[in-house]
Symmetry: C2
Subunit: 282 residues, 2 copies
């Protein structure tokens, strides 16, 4: 935690990050009950903030967590934190827990914790060569909610490492769904870009990729089978921190020719350009 930003906001109040803490009765700590969202700030601009707030409100509503839905109030709170931390480029996390329940088993007034953190440096090598992943059968509960429950993904880390991989793709009932912290796209041998549409979290970066991809390639949001994945010409994952990251090995087998593919590289470039234009126009 060497490079902590100086401040965070807990329940609306600015606090020094290094001593900020949550009481022992919090329901996320004790019962794993909470939701969150995470977005990046580039050149001082919170990226796709409306979409992230909308998703946070959806997650909270679905989990019966009563939170303020005044977008302007949220934006002003976030801006206050960015100003206090003097950050131009950062990740911002909003965590909403079920609060301090007197009986240890109910939903209380939520604890809302907003933190900023340096964005992890992108590993150039991963983008140049693509990453290796394993597959694992698993269906997240409440898949359209960004809940804090990452038990399976973290539990799998030793298995992922043992396979010489760096991430995992989930599937259920023969259908590809998502990666613990990313969405997944497949380019099939016909050159069509496929991505799962059901039983997964609707990523904000996924949405950006979908909105730009149709200028480059045919796109289908659909059911993507494990066979589609095994026979793919190209595979990549998307997330707020990763952007578009090529996947070139799945369960020890190369994807296509084992190199990041043409469509993937084109979309990486297009996404970068899209973000630059967005920043220029904000």
């Amino acid at each position: 935690m060497a490079n902590l930003h100086p401040y965070c906001i807990i329940n609306g109040s600015l606090q020094p990050r290094s001593t900020a803490a949550i009481g022992l009765d919090d329901m996320a700590l004790n019962r794993g009950y909470g939701v969150f969202d995470f977005f990046k700030v580039m050149q001082g601009i919170p990226m796709h903030l409306d979409a992230h707030l909308k998703r946070l409100f959806h997650s909270a509503q679905h989990m019966h967590l009563p939170i303020d839905e005044d977008v302007e109030r949220w934006k002003s709170l976030i801006q206050q934190l960015l100003n206090a931390n003097h950050v131009q480029d950062a990740g911002v996390k909003i965590l909403v827990t079920a609060g301090y329940a007197p009986n240890g088993y109910s939903i209380a007034s939520p604890n809302i914790i907003i933190t900023t953190q340096p964005l992890p440096a992108k590993k150039e090598d991963d983008y140049a060569k693509g990453i290796a992943v394993i597959t694992h059968e698993y269906q997240r509960e409440m898949p359209d909610v960004k809940s804090i429950n990452y038990t399976r993904g973290i539990w799998l880390l030793p298995q992922i490492a043992a396979a010489g991989a760096s991430d995992v793709l989930y599937y259920a009932n023969g259908l590809l769904t998502e990666s613990p912290r990313s969405n997944v796209f497949v380019v099939n041998v016909e050159g069509v870009l496929l991505t799962p549409e059901h039983n997964m979290l609707k990523g904000i970066t996924r949405q950006q990729v979908l909105s730009i991809a149709s200028q480059h390639v045919s796109v289908e949001c659909t059911y993507v089978t494990i066979a589609d994945l095994r026979n793919a010409a190209e595979v990549f994952i998307t997330s707020t921190t990763k952007g578009i990251l090529p996947v070139t090995t799945i369960d020890g087998m190369p994807v296509g020719n084992g190199q990041p593919g043409k469509v993937t590289l084109e979309l990486m470039q297009a996404l970068h350009q899209y973000e630059m234009e967005l920043l220029a126009n904000t």
Copy 2:
């Protein structure tokens, strides 16, 4: 939180409970990654502590959480807390989280939090009349691990309340498994006591009940179907805090004649006597 006991123990160190807190980077708080156990203290005696510690070690091992397994050291730490809090009767909770992960997504050195709390007063009425429950299809991940993930049980609370019930029984693939914080027993019309043996947490109170029940009734740890539940003569749930609690209404339908049954009442009495003897002999 009016009646907090004065002290808790965090990572081996005694701290005032009212100001004790956990840093914002804890992995239970952020990723729902943690396990716990809970036992009661009666007349100063930690009840079935060896069994609870054994289960805690199992939970931690399964979740790749590295913790000390020196039983004597744990007992001495717990005794230190009981002494500091001057409690004779209490519940003790041991929470083990995946600690402060520098990257926010890995298993670090666990945070171990030991707290004591007053045992909730038993609602006489519930024991005299039995409680109402609903049923819900759900299978916990890693069912033999006492993880902190109670998302489903808490998420169901409004639905439970709307049905005029006070708890829920989970089933999966037509088989009864457990209640979020209790095990479940069924007395069938032949007078045989049945309890699920698979895909559920092996409760310590369940084990006590099994060890005394065979003196009163035929017992089968087996697959218990939803039909077994619907046709049951008697149903009860068991937990450390509840002991044996009769269930007399399921999904709005009475169990048997709608009153706590003969076997249930006999076992409630037997469990009470068993605990009293245990205390007398400790």
